[in-house]
Subunit: 250 residues, 2 copies
Amino acid sequence: MAASVTAALLVIGDEILSGRTKDRNIGYIAEYLAAIGLDLCEVRIVPDVEAEIVAAVNALRSRYTYVFTTGGIGPTHDDITADAIAKAFAVTIDHDPRAVAILKAHYSPGQLNEARMRMARIPEGAELIENPVSKAPGFRLGNVFVMAGVPKIMQAMMDQLGPRLTRGSPMISATVTAYLAEGDLAKPLKEIQDRYPEVTIGSYPFEEAGKFGAHLVLRSRDEEKLAAARRDVLHMVEELKSSGKVKLWS
Amino acid sequence: MAASVTAALLVIGDEILSGRTKDRNIGYIAEYLAAIGLDLCEVRIVPDVEAEIVAAVNALRSRYTYVFTTGGIGPTHDDITADAIAKAFAVTIDHDPRAVAILKAHYSPGQLNEARMRMARIPEGAELIENPVSKAPGFRLGNVFVMAGVPKIMQAMMDQLGPRLTRGSPMISATVTAYLAEGDLAKPLKEIQDRYPEVTIGSYPFEEAGKFGAHLVLRSRDEEKLAAARRDVLHMVEELKSSGKVKLWS
């Protein structure tokens, strides 16, 4: 198990950038990767433009352990991800016999037209990712995993991939909810952060039913350090509440 | 009015990458910008790490007309956006008298501690963006607009900015919903796309209650071309449905 395995996600699709479709994959993949100990370090959303996809794939694959992409692997003219990935890796792309066999088993001969056959175009050297929902496969080339954009299909593909990825030490987290203003807890919280460099502490303000507060989220790969930092945060919150100097929201 | 005004969005925050918080700003900003004729060309999500924010801001601001950022302008130690923006532009950053005045009017002297004063740190030469919700301002520096991550505050800031941005010719769109499989309409759809280079046609498959189909979305700045392409798409769908050769889902 590696200490830290990094990942990036590339979301491909005009429909996300135009606001027409609300992305539902980023949050899912972020949670999925966190659960198996991978650090999602960057996400990019780019349009259905070959040069943009090529540039983003190459920027990300050279930098992170894994790159996941979603979108652009269907049968229509705007589905250009497979060709863009081939270009990014400077390899050829053609109808892949394994992918053709999958499509032939799924579609009747009359249905398997030229457009559907496009879904069997796979870059040279790639490994297929099974699609149990609608059959047309995704693929892995090098450290890049190419998945469908339809959430249900992407999730099924992710389930194929998950067990095969190198996992990092799991990141564990703890949340302390403080009904205090961020501005009142910022200084002592920073002091705790400075004492625990192995723990990342984030503060996320919220408002619920007119009450204000902050979720203080502690994340670490070191369980003991996490527990110690959490105790300090809880102690800090109690001290602030009993100080009489700050506004309490509960 | 410019023919095309481009924009990028930079979402800053560990909590989005860890999956803990589901982003609600990307879709909102995408729709907002589309409505005022701006082309959102790229989105990036980066962690609360100064070097990452600096690199992303510099990559995006040199490339697009406008860059919008969300997140990282609160009072806690993980709020480092203002300092990162100053670094990206190689300008100094200090307590800004205008921002200090806003905070002084809002907080009592006992409340306005060092942490809250951090929210008045604004890069040299920036213009403030008013925050009607919780007062601590955002700012504009060059072509970069720095907004809060809390959706309600971001939206209020966007409403300040919207009227002041150079608008592009509005992108207009039309959607044709076809209860046909993408693989059956892909070829004639590509032919229509090839006839109308001024219209971008996207195909987005869906499944609802066991019925399959695709939303065919046409987007253009040319109303007549859009209307003509839409007529051709409607005609294509009718032809396919009456051909007896494809599976109908309604």
